[in-house]
Symmetry: C3
Subunit: 206 residues, 3 copies
């Protein structure tokens, strides 16, 4: 089925793109913290791979994914290079960067959820694992950089992933499976995130 295969391939490429964008974001954060080249590289790795690594460790599907997938490591090297060589340019492209980051968390969420599903765990855990895949790289990045995690404070970010994960299972119940489900779920995360930023949605604090 070449059509299906082509779509699977698109998902794979978006996953790689997400990895590059997450690595760039990690490298820029580390650079702002005055880390040296090793620190910048380490934080870029942690940001891009931390979420998926935590998911794999919790599920017990070790060795963790990136150990056998050298593509992802190459994407991080690319992300670090882009961040350091074109820093000023990247910082100006905030809007493009935001869009890629959003597409990145959407794909990370759905692929993470599917990995959990194939490990045979319950839907609630799958949704948590999808969210963890997408956002805990950033959480670990902030903890390592000695900050309280940004998304714990004022971003409608993790909840977007949780809503997208819920939609995935609602669609599954409705009989919408495979690629179509993936596309709708990812698109919903992108749309909710754009609306959340556009209209400054916030989680309540107490």
């Amino acid at each position: 089925m070449p059509f299906f295969a082509a779509k699977m391939e698109i998902l794979y490429y978006i996953d790689l793109l997400g990895t590059v964008v997450f690595a760039i974001s990690g490298a820029l954060t580390a650079s702002a913290k005055k880390l040296d080249f090793f620190g910048i590289s380490a934080v870029a790795f942690i940001t891009a791979l931390g979420g998926g690594t935590l998911r794999d460790v919790l599920l017990g599907s070790t060795p963790v994914g990136w150990i056998s997938q050298v593509d992802y490591l190459l994407m991080i090297v690319l992300g670090i290079s882009v961040a350091l060589l074109f820093r000023k340019y990247v910082q100006k492209l905030r809007r493009t960067f935001f869009l890629f980051d959003t597409i990145g968390i959407a794909v990370f969420t759905v692929l993470g959820l599917q990995k959990a599903l194939s490990a045979g765990v319950s839907p609630v855990i799958c949704i948590m694992m999808g969210m963890i895949s997408a956002v805990f790289g950033g959480v670990i990045r902030d903890v390592v950089c000695n900050e309280i995690p940004l998304i714990f404070r004022k971003e409608f970010y993790a909840v977007t992933c949780i809503l997208g994960g819920c939609l995935y299972f609602i669609l599954l119940k409705l009989g919408i499976v495979g690629e179509l489900n993936v596309i709708i779920s990812c698109a919903s995360i992108v749309v909710i995130r754009i609306l959340a930023v556009r209209y400054k949605w916030r989680m309540p604090s107490f």
Copy 2:
């Protein structure tokens, strides 16, 4: 053996109660740090499940426990709700809360130790794993909230769990097994902790 079964069930319910109390404690800490609703929920989860998760990962008994035990997740949702809805009330009940927290670490220690024992590791490691189950949720909570862990600074807290764990193995040597051992070990942790707080016992610093 209904008597035995009834006691096992009590242990299970105390474990659930400990989870609620740890979640409340995490939610209150997060709330004091001005985190939003997602941050509060994440920190409540980390506080309640972090210790047991670390134990399971170190022992290699993955998927980690809570992935297949939805009861514990429900207890955390309950804990978060109680913390946010009855915050002022909960903060006034410091003494009750302290007692529940103490019973919680006692049960977490002994159940954690038993889980390690059933994984076939040595007594010293079992005692460490019991202590890690009980107190490392709080350690990870503090690290994520950008604080040096409280129990590393001035609490006679982890040592209480270690002493209770040692007693468990002494009793085992003396032929006191099963529920009776569990009850005595848990009770000793509760008593030592109450004495430690009452008489302001401190670990030495240098």
Copy 3:
């Protein structure tokens, strides 16, 4: 082959010595942060075992190594005792301490790399795992002590391990295997580190 066996034994003893030195370094850091005796012990454990633990968890070779190797726990107890009893003396011996620490990271790198190699992963991952074994104990120590990791900021430290790991595989390609390779790779890490400190080599920052 007694000659070979004797050399293997030396590697084992250097590994134990490295563990003592790392525990001392952790205990001194924790002591400077005004932690109490439990905090000092916990940070000493984390510093000495954190890197190898992270490597084992990522590779999925759990239970993690120290759970079945009580020797390493004893070395940490020894390290904590030395740090607390002879603190002033240890702090004066900076040069000796630096040399032991350097030999420690060299052996941790090569043994970590070999453990990854025996798990069947690619050379790039082996080199990463060697470096993680050697330096991430210190990274976790700094994160727990609420500091941005020192080696992310201004030390030519992790890169030394990476260079030593690369040399290991170059020698392997050249047919230099076994003990001879281990000795040359370890020695190169020690020499590079001494040169790096002597001539104040720094990683670039941006």
